[in-house]
C-alpha cells in the first residue's frame, strides 16, 4: 500500500517544511476544522503525527 501525503496542517510552522501544501492554523480547533474539510475534499485520510500536526494521506 503506497501512501501519499497530500497536505500538512499545523499550528507550529517552524517545524514543518517540504513538498506538500502546508496549512498553518492558529488553534487546534481550527486545525481540526481544516483537516475535516480537506478530508472530504481530497477523499484522503487524516492522521495525527503530533498534537500540533495533522497530515492528509491518500492510501493505495
Amino acid at each position: 500500500m503506497m501512501g501519499q501525503i497530500l497536505a500538512v496542517i499545523t499550528t507550529d510552522k517552524e517545524r514543518i517544511a517540504g513538498g506538500a501544501p502546508i496549512f498553518v492554523e492558529t488553534s487546534k480547533e481550527r486545525m481540526q476544522q481544516t483537516a475535516f474539510t480537506l478530508e472530504k475534499i481530497l477523499d484522503a485520510m487524516v492522521h495525527e503525527i503530533r498534537e500540533d500536526t495533522l497530515i492528509i494521506v491518500r492510501h493505495k
Binding site: Q32, F36, D43, M45, V46, H47, E48, L54
Partner: protein, 298 residues
C-alpha cells in the same frame, strides 16, 4: 420421424443424463447473502451454460460406443468453454468490486469464479455418470447413479468456514486519542476528532485466535482478511460512505501470536450476530495454507 428418433438405443440414456445434469446445475445454483449470481439474468446465463455442459456430458459415452472416437475432443472444447466462464465471472466481479464500499478483494473473487467453473464440471460428471449407468444397467441404474452424483455434488457445494480454524471473541474497541485498538491489537491512527467520535460510538472489535499453525498462516493472508470485512459489511451493513476514508473497517495482525484484531463499522451493532457472520466466512480455497504438512518440521 419421432419413431425413428426413439428407435435409437441411446436416446433414453442421453435424455436421462441430460435431465440429471440440468437438475444438478439448478440444485447448485443458489443465491444467498452474497446476492450472486444475480437474478434473473445472472441465473439465466448459468442455467444455459449448465444445459450445454449436461448435453456434452451426456453425449460423450454414447459417442464412444458408436465408435465415434473423435467426438471425445468435444470435451476439450468444453473445458475451454468453461474456463471462459471463470474469466467472465472474474471480470464482472472485479468491475463491481471497484465501486464497493467494502470490496471483496481479489482472492475472494477468484474463489467465486473458480466455483462457477467447477460446478459446470460437476454437471458434466453427473450427466456422464447417469448416461453410462443407464446404458449399463437399464433406467433404474441411471436414476440411482444420477441421485448419487447429485449427492456428491451437494457435498462438494459448500466449502469450509472460519469457525473451523479460529476462535472468535468479542473485544473492547479502544480509541485512545489518535490510536485505535481492537483489544490489544493496534489498528490505525485516526487524526480527525470527528471520526474518533463516530468510531467510538459505532465501532465494534473482535479478536480472532487461530487454532493451529495452519490457520495462523491462512488468516494472515490479506485476501482472507478482506473477505471477512466484506462479508460483515454485506450482512450487517457498513457505517461509512464514499469520501469517508477515516471510517474504514480494518483487520490487523498481531505478529507475535498470529491473532487478528478486527475493527468493524456495521450499521447494526450486534455482537452476537457479528460473531455468527465472522464464523461463517468461507475459508478461501486459494489462500488456504498447510505449513504443518511440510517435511521441514520432521
Amino acid at each position: 420421424m419421432l419413431k425413428q428418433l426413439l428407435a435409437n438405443e441411446f436416446v433414453f440414456p442421453i435424455t436421462l443424463g441430460f435431465i440429471f445434469g440440468i437438475l444438478c446445475r439448478i440444485h447448485l445454483l443458489r443465491t444467498d447473502y452474497r446476492q450472486y449470481p444475480t437474478y434473473p439474468h445472472g441465473k439465466i446465463i448459468h442455467v444455459s451454460l449448465g444445459v450445454i455442459a449436461s448435453a456434452l456430458g451426456a453425449l460423450a459415452v454414447p459417442a464412444l460406443l458408436k465408435e465415434n472416437y473423435t467426438a471425445v475432443t468435444f470435451l476439450t472444447v468444453a473445458a475451454q468453454q468453461f474456463r471462459d466462464v471463470r474469466n467472465m465471472e472474474r471480470t464482472t466481479l472485479s468491475e463491481i468490486d471497484k465501486q464497493e464500499l467494502v470490496p471483496r478483494g481479489g482472492p475472494y473473487i477468484e474463489g467465486i469464479a473458480m466455483v462457477f467453473e467447477g460446478r459446470n464440471y460437476m454437471v458434466i460428471f453427473t450427466s456422464l455418470v447417469t448416461t453410462t449407468a443407464t446404458i449399463l444397467f437399464h433406467w433404474w441404474g441411471g436414476v440411482i447413479a444420477g441421485l448419487v452424483a447429485l449427492l456428491i455434488s451437494r457435498k462438494l457445494r459448500s466449502g469450509k468456514t472460519l469457525s473451523l480454524i479460529v476462535n472468535v471473541e468479542p473485544a473492547q474497541l479502544r480509541v485512545e486519542g489518535r490510536d485505535l485498538y481492537a483489544g490489544d491489537v493496534y489498528i490505525m491512527n485516526v487524526g480527525l476528532q470527528d471520526a474518533q467520535k463516530v468510531i467510538a460510538e459505532q465501532g465494534m472489535a473482535f479478536i480472532l485466535t487461530p487454532k493451529d499453525a495452519n490457520s495462523k498462516v491462512t488468516i494472515a493472508h490479506p485476501g482472507q482478511r478482506q473477505a471477512i470485512l466484506h462479508d460483515v459489511a454485506a450482512q450487517l451493513g457498513v457505517f461509512t460512505d464514499t469520501g469517508e476514508p477515516s471510517l474504514t473497517p480494518l483487520v490487523k495482525r498481531d505478529m507475535h501470536t498470529g491473532r487478528l484484531g478486527v475493527f468493524l463499522l456495521p450499521q447494526v451493532k450486534d455482537y452476537d450476530r457479528a460473531k455468527t457472520v465472522i464464523e461463517a466466512v468461507p475459508i478461501l480455497e486459494s489462500v488456504f495454507r498447510m505449513p504443518e504438512k511440510t517435511q521441514a518440521l520432521h
